[in-house]
Amino acid sequence: MPDLMHGKLERSATGLMLAIVAAASVGGIVEIAPLFTVDDTVEQVKDMRLYTPLELAGRDVYVREGCYACHSQMIRTLRDEVERYGPYSLAVESQYDHPMLWGSKRTGPDLARIGGKYSDFWHVAHLINPRDVVPESNMPSYSWLATTPLDVRDLPLKLQAQRYVGVPYTDAMIANASSDAHGQAVPDSDQATGVSERYGEATQISAFDGVTTNVTEMDALVAYLQVLGQLTKAAYENPATSEQVPNPND
């Protein structure tokens, strides 16, 4: 009987096609569709802030250089990870991440809570030559970022596109994107005040690469790294216990 039914199916290209599409659709629909409607997929937190234009530009540099190939941004609910990296990652922390950069391989350490852990100076030295600060490192050098000026002209377009996909940037944020990027990397400039107005007092305004005369891709990348894990304090406020995985030494 099953053979008979299948015999029919394999005589008809259309039937076979429809059956394949039907069989292959169920899993995706069951697992993906509810993620958009179930309330507890992403926690609601009040203090979640947006990436500033400079940080977003830094994120784009991170994407462009394929950093996700070696660094994850997802601290799992495992005891050793929480102790090594910090509180485990919440869904809300990547709520505005298009795309998410959770990664799948750690050739280098996880970066989900790297923000604030090291000084700007350390990051710049590390990116210029990783082996100057970590002799055993096998990370490539990104020294040329410090001499590449950041293209700030595209930033309004980028914020606009981010708004299309659901990130709540305001009109003022989009209109001032280029000047905000400049202001965040040049403290004491006129443009700097607008950044804290639009993105909050906690926004770090700093000469990230140590040079205040220009805005480079290094400024952007360091600004991004320094805000990782700092967009909301939610993960630090509910220190729920992490899962215990058997200790190999026990």
Partner: protein
């Protein structure tokens, strides 16, 4: 392209002219952006192809007798492209592996840094090598098993060359930093749109050819090719929905965010493995293995069970890549459950293949080509077992983020995908070029051992490094503090990184040997034509030259 009719030539010219104009437009609007560079490349490629087309256009109209032959010209070009991408992709892979041990091997250039060449390696081997192998063999298999010629002469070229244009744009983009950072789907929006057009043409061509079949049943291998074409289209479109920042920029933002993006990404990522790297290549296995062993497939019922099991179960399994993450627990558990169940249909196919060889072991011993296919089936069984095992939560907590995953992926890529492809190519090449056999059986033998030893070194190095690193990360001292810093675990990896680069190098040398062997096979003079009738489609016979009655 000499066989194109004048209508098909005009269509080809029209499409190439449109592409060339599109290329110029992209070059103009994207002057200060990689998009402009890509526009220039598209323009050059279209103009180059236009010249090839025009230079062949002065020939006479094709002989109506062509309908009594299979259309093998695109297959020949496809074989060459497959081997070129194999060598390119594997070379980049060895280079990337070497960079992990010796970071200065990027020579301090941005384009050659690890983060940019790694996607060039994965896309080069998966899409360049694997994709061309799939398109090429599907043209061969669907004609022979349907006993019908490809539906027309234009679309096979459009699909093959269009797909290679996609690969070219995608991979040259990574060197320039054009990527959307979605694993196995790094290409940006315009390359993705182009791929959709090519893929729809592929689907239509495949189905039209099936519709011309002279056999009542659709042969098993074609089920797999059909599933591969259909589901890859669905996966590609959903995963790559994105908003470009403007039509003059290569940059876009994916519409999915955060946790939803992670699920879509791995639903796609895991099923790229399922429908590109498994279903497609199972199509290859189900045709070339019985053919080469000269034995029918062991069990028809197992084929059915395996096919529907794979088509249904795989789609659920992607979330096992997200254990212990912010993805809701229930999705993680569903993914794990289906991943474990997936072992049944996977082993049904692996067993079906190995049992087909039962009774032909003497051939396996003597014929390195058949041995390639046997090892492929063996590695398929091994990596699907490993995959189900690694999807189990506690195992995954150890393996995830380590080289164990890389080792697992390469047991599949080198052991299964590449070996079945080489087995298929060694069967296909003499048949298409009408030679008795490959130029050198000894070189096939040499290639087999290079490939096998390379794979074993690679996989064992990665198993070791992965498990060691995973264990070191979670080792505690007696004072209940972490025993190792991250850098300690990285230092422990260096010997394995070197071993892996060496294993990969052996595999690359094997691929070069294969390319040389194929080149020499094609160059040997064609033997005197045998009596026609062996390898010809049924029907579509020209009135002038009726085939002899059977």
């Amino acid at each position: 392209m000499g066989q194109l009719t004048s209508g098909e030539r005009t269509l080809g010219a029209a499409i190439l002219i449109v592409l060339a104009i599109l290329g110029i437009a992209m070059a103009a609007v994207g002057q200060n952006d990689p998009l402009g560079t890509h526009g220039g490349m598209i323009f050059l490629v279209s103009v180059g192809l236009l010249f090839v087309l025009i230079s062949s256009s002065f020939g006479p109209e094709p002989d109506p007798a062509r309908f009594s032959k299979y259309y093998d010209d695109p297959i020949k070009v496809g074989v060459a492209l497959t081997l070129i991408w194999a060598i390119f992709g594997m070379f980049i892979g060895v280079w990337a592996a070497a960079q992990l041990a010796w970071p200065s091997l990027n020579f301090d250039t941005a384009w050659a840094s690890f983060g940019r060449i790694r996607p060039a390696h994965t896309s080069g081997v998966i899409f360049g090598f694997g994709g061309n192998a799939l398109i090429t063999t599907s043209y061969h298999v669907v004609q022979r098993t349907s006993r019908a010629r490809l539906a027309d002469q234009f679309s096979p070229w459009f699909v093959l060359l269009g797909f290679n244009l996609f690969c070219l744009i995608a991979i040259s983009g990574y060197f320039m930093g054009v990527t959307q950072s979605k694993e196995y789907a790094e290409a940006e929006w315009y390359a993705d749109i182009w791929l959709v057009i090519v893929w729809v043409a592929y689907f239509i061509l495949f189905v039209r050819t099936l519709a011309r079949r002279k056999e009542p049943h659709i042969y098993v291998a074609n089920w797999y090719y059909l599933a591969f074409i259909l589901v890859v289209a669905i996966l590609h479109i959903v995963n790559n929905l994105a908003v470009p920042i403007s039509f003059a920029h290569a940059k876009s933002y994916t519409v999915w965010a955060g946790v939803q993006d992670s699920m879509v990404q791995w639903w796609y990522g895991h099923n790229a493995v399922a429908f590109f790297l498994t279903a497609g290549f199972l199509g290859m296995l189900y045709y070339y293995l019985p053919k080469r062993a000269q034995r029918p497939i062991f069990s028809y019922r197992l084929s059915i069970l395996s096919f529907w099991g794979i088509t249904f179960f795989y789609m659920w399994a992607g979330s096992h890549h997200l254990h212990y993450t912010a993805l809701p627990h229930w999705v993680q558990n569903l993914g794990m459950t289906f991943s474990v169940m997936l072992l049944v249909p996977s082993w049904a196919s692996a067993g079906n293949a190995l049992l087909t060889l039962n009774g032909a072991w003497d051939k396996v011993r003597d014929d390195a080509t058949l041995r390639f296919m046997m090892m492929a089936a063996f590695f398929y069984g091994l990596s699907t077992f490993e995959g189900s095992f690694m999807a189990i939560r506690p195992v995954n907590s150890l393996s995830h983020y380590t080289d164990w995953t890389v080792g697992h992926v390469h047991a599949g890529a080198l052991g299964w995908v590449a070996m079945i492809t080489f087995g298929a190519l060694y069967t296909l090449v003499p048949s298409i070029w009408k030679r008795e056999r490959m130029y050198s059986a000894g070189l096939v033998e040499l290639h087999f051992w290079l490939a096998l030893v390379g794979t074993l070194i690679y996989v064992f190095a990665m198993w070791n490094s992965g498990i060691i690193q995973g264990l070191m990360w979670r080792t505690y001292t007696q004072d209940d503090t972490l025993a190792y810093s991250f850098v300690d675990t990285l230092v422990a990896m260096y010997p394995y990184y070197i071993a892996r680069a060496f294993g990969g190098l052996l595999f690359l040398i094997g691929a070069i040997v294969a390319a040389y062997n194929v080149w020499m096979t094609v160059r040997t003079p064609e033997p005197a034509p045998s009596s026609a009738g062996e390898d010809l489609p049924l029907g579509d016979r020209p009135v002038a030259t009726p085939l002899p009655a059977e």
